[in-house]
């Protein structure tokens, strides 16, 4: 209890102190807690780009701070507390493992707003946000199904969790739609970040005959492996990976946190911030589709862009029935659309995928 009183009084003191400057000069302070180094070229790199975009868009009205490579657990709680004590108005915690720490610290600082990425626990001052990457996967699946000649598509997964399984299903459904003979080979790297392992996984898939490699890991190692092999199609993941365009990278899924971060910071400045659960996709721009390069035939590119438009305006949902589960049981009836709850906890493959999800 003592700590809570102390924290509350400190927060109050700060509130008073900042109140003194409340004549329009007060800056809104935004903190970012990053799980990796900002130089990882992937997940944290993109979140940091979002942070820089906030600074650019809102200029003098905001001040941002960040701490990188923060371990999940007590270290993250300490970093969040430090930010809150030092006057942060809004804190983005950008890794799934920060979920419980965020909830804990948010309870101690009711006046500070928290935004937790990819989690499912919320509170009055804790929002969650995540991106519907599977929408981008649908487009990739379509292009992949059209582009493959060997009918073997390789897929590099990180860990067998719902987020990744969703992406595999989405890509497979749309690849199979345009190419019924397509076959997915899935390799789990069991790491979020290990470029050497990712390179190995890509090479193995290519050796096994894959001429399209999709990846759910964030480094450009698979692109480099594909470039070396010469005739393998890849897609950028997390960032555009444009340095490998126009081939082997023919398009990409881009994590674009900037619009969301700017909007939420603006909401705090305006005093309109509310706890929400945001799961945005292509429409609001949280999932960006990198330019489809000329290596893709014009008609395929057109179809892909049409699908992108349909997903963006809500007229098409990538998980629309009829879809059966891998074991042949019914999942979605004709025309039925998957509900978000099932998608969030997805732990099964759809019909046609081979192999098992590792347990």
């Amino acid at each position: 209890m003592k700590l809570k009183t102390l924290l509350a009084s400190a927060a109050m003191a700060l509130g008073l102190a900042s109140g003194a400057f409340a004549d329009g000069h007060e800056k809104t302070k935004v903190g970012f807690v990053f799980v990796g180094p900002i130089g990882d070229g992937g997940w944290t790199y993109e979140h940091n780009k979002g942070r820089l975009a906030v600074e650019e868009a809102l200029g003098d009205a905001v001040e941002t701070v960040y701490v990188e490579s923060v371990a999940e657990g007590p270290d993250s709680e300490r970093v969040m507390t430090e930010m809150a004590l030092n006057g942060a108005d809004l804190i983005f915690t950008t890794s799934f493992g920060y979920m419980d720490p965020t909830i804990n610290i948010a309870a101690k600082f009711p006046d500070v707003k928290f935004e937790h990425a990819t989690g499912y626990k919320r509170a009055d001052n804790v929002s969650t946000y995540s991106a519907r990457f599977y929408e981008g996967r649908a487009i990739q699946g379509h292009i992949a199904g059209k582009m493959t000649k060997s009918n073997i598509i390789g897929y590099i997964g990180s860990y067998p969790i719902p987020e990744v399984i969703r992406g595999i299903n989405s890509a497979f459904i749309h690849a199979q739609k345009v190419n019924p003979d397509v076959e997915f080979r899935i390799v789990w790297a069991y790491t979020w970040f290990d470029p050497a392992k990712e390179a190995d996984a890509a090479k193995v898939l290519i050796e096994q005959g894959a001429d399209v490699v999709l990846q759910h890991t964030d480094s450009t190692a698979p692109q480099a492996a594909a470039q070396e092999a010469g005739n393998v199609v890849t897609f950028g993941q997390a960032s555009d990976m444009g340095q490998y365009a126009p081939f082997p990278r023919v398009s990409s899924i881009i994590d674009d946190w900037a619009p969301y971060y700017i909007a939420r910071t603006q909401a705090v400045i305006d005093g309109t911030w509310e706890s929400t659960d945001t799961w945005d996709g292509i429409g609001p721009g949280m999932v960006g589709i990198g330019e489809i390069s000329d290596a893709v035939p014009a008609d395929v590119k057109e179809e892909a862009l049409a699908m992108k438009a349909a997903i963006a305006d809500g007229s098409y949902h990538p998980f629309t029935g009829p879809i059966k589960k891998q074991d042949g049981s019914d999942w979605l009836a004709d025309g039925e659309v998957a509900d978000d709850g099932t998608l969030a906890g997805m732990n099964f493959y759809v019909e046609g995928l081979t192999g098992e999800i590792p347990q």
Binding site: M1, K2, L3, K4, L6, L7, A10, G31, P37, I38, V65, Y66, V67, E68, S69, V70, A71, E72, G73, P74, D75, E77, R78, V79, T81, E82, M83, L85, N86, F96, G97, D100, N104, Y120, Y159, P160, I161, P162, I165, Y190, A344, G345, M346, N347, P358, Q359
Partner: protein
């Protein structure tokens, strides 16, 4: 030409002086580094060392020093016993992981039953897990004479894979929407290693660390076993003559260090960390090795070294957030501090003599 001459007795003066000298040298070179990165060196160093201890929010950071320092001290105390006797357990990280897995496993097995016996059972299981993992290199060394440095190090990687397997499999939270990681023990009252006084940072792991420090101090100063440890390290042959059983000593030293590392893991997973997850271990087992040496393998020294390490972690995070220093700069700064502390220890045991070398 500078010559080194071994002191007949380690210098007490330098034992106290060298850490200070090392810190000053780190301030100087660290300051240069921060200046090179375009930050004010004085502010940077003040932020790292002053802010957590005496700054505006020190009421929050001081307890955090205990939370961050306790596992380091607890593990380092155990390691120091072996190191003194020339028995090298560098696999504390693995023992820490196994302690956490065993302890959390026992706790989760009882979920959702509430009972006062659950937490003590977890403590026992955690201690057992760490002890058993350390017994592997111990028994192999006693039986076959294998090198315990290497076996204990290898077992770290085995333990880490085991941890990954458990967080994705057996211990995965069934209500966690398929995400890896166990239930949060903080939300399971009987299994939660809560702060004894809220806001004090004082959890059972801190208490255990204190007990371990006192235990080690008494053991080394007063007990026959402590004598055996010291004499084995200093003069192994004399130890044999004075009736020290080397096998028993190996089992004792490795077992104790494993047990304490296991406890540290259990207290961490049941308290500050809360859950078993793939990246649950953050390197305390390796950092504790450095802490043990920085503390000159002395119980009191280890407490100070553990707190110093904790300070640089906490202050380093503050410096990142407030000054925009990259995490890498903090790491380099910590590396410098360790280098100076290790290098200057020379002055405790050796005297520098300036003059021409005699025929060497």
């Amino acid at each position: 030409m500078i010559q080194l001459e071994k002191r007949p007795q380690p210098s007490r003066l330098f034992a106290y002086l060298t850490p200070l000298l090392a810190v000053l040298a780190t301030f100087f070179f660290g300051g240069l580094l921060f200046a090179a990165l375009g930050k004010d060196p004085v502010t940077s160093i003040m932020t790292i060392f002053w802010e957590p201890l005496f700054g505006e929010f020190s009421f929050y950071y001081r307890p955090q020093l205990l939370i961050k320092g306790a596992p380091l001290v607890l593990i380092a105390i155990g390691l120091s016993l072996g190191f003194k006797a020339g028995i090298w357990n560098i696999g504390a990280e693995g023992q820490y992981v196994m302690g956490a897995l065993f302890g959390a496993g026992v706790g989760l097995a009882f979920y959702p039953a509430e009972s006062v016996f659950i937490f003590p059972a977890m403590v026992l299981a955690g201690a057992f897990g760490g002890w058993a993992w350390a017994m592997i290199p111990a028994i192999l060394k006693v039986k076959f004479g294998t090198n315990e440095i290497l076996v204990s190090l290898m077992l770290v990687y085995v333990a880490e894979q085991f941890l990954a397997s458990m967080s994705l499999g057996l211990l995965k939270n069934p209500e966690g929407f398929g995400f890896p990681g166990s239930r949060n023990l903080q939300q399971y009252a009987s299994a939660h290693n809560a702060e004894i006084f809220a806001g004090s940072g004082m959890h059972w792991g801190v208490v255990a660390a204190m007990i371990a420090v006192i235990f080690a101090y008494v053991l080394l100063a007063r007990h026959r076993l402590g004598f055996a440890v010291r004499v084995t390290g200093e003069a192994p042959r004399a130890a044999r003559f004075s009736g020290v059983n080397p096998s028993r000593l190996i089992l004792f030293c490795l077992g104790t260090s494993g047990l304490l590392a296991g406890l540290a893991g259990l207290f961490e997973v049941a308290g500050p960390a809360g859950q078993v997850s793939i990246d649950f271990n953050v390197g305390y087992g390796f950092t504790a090795i450095i802490v043990a040496f920085l503390g000159r393998l002395h119980p009191v020294g280890i407490v100070l070294a553990g707190l110093l390490m904790a300070l640089t972690y906490i202050g380093g995070d503050i410096a990142q957030s407030q000054l925009g220093l990259p995490a890498a700069a903090i790491q380099v700064f910590q590396g410098m501090l360790l280098f100076f502390l290790l290098a200057l220890d020379l002055l405790t045991n050796y005297r520098l003599r300036f003059g021409r070398a005699e025929a060497a």
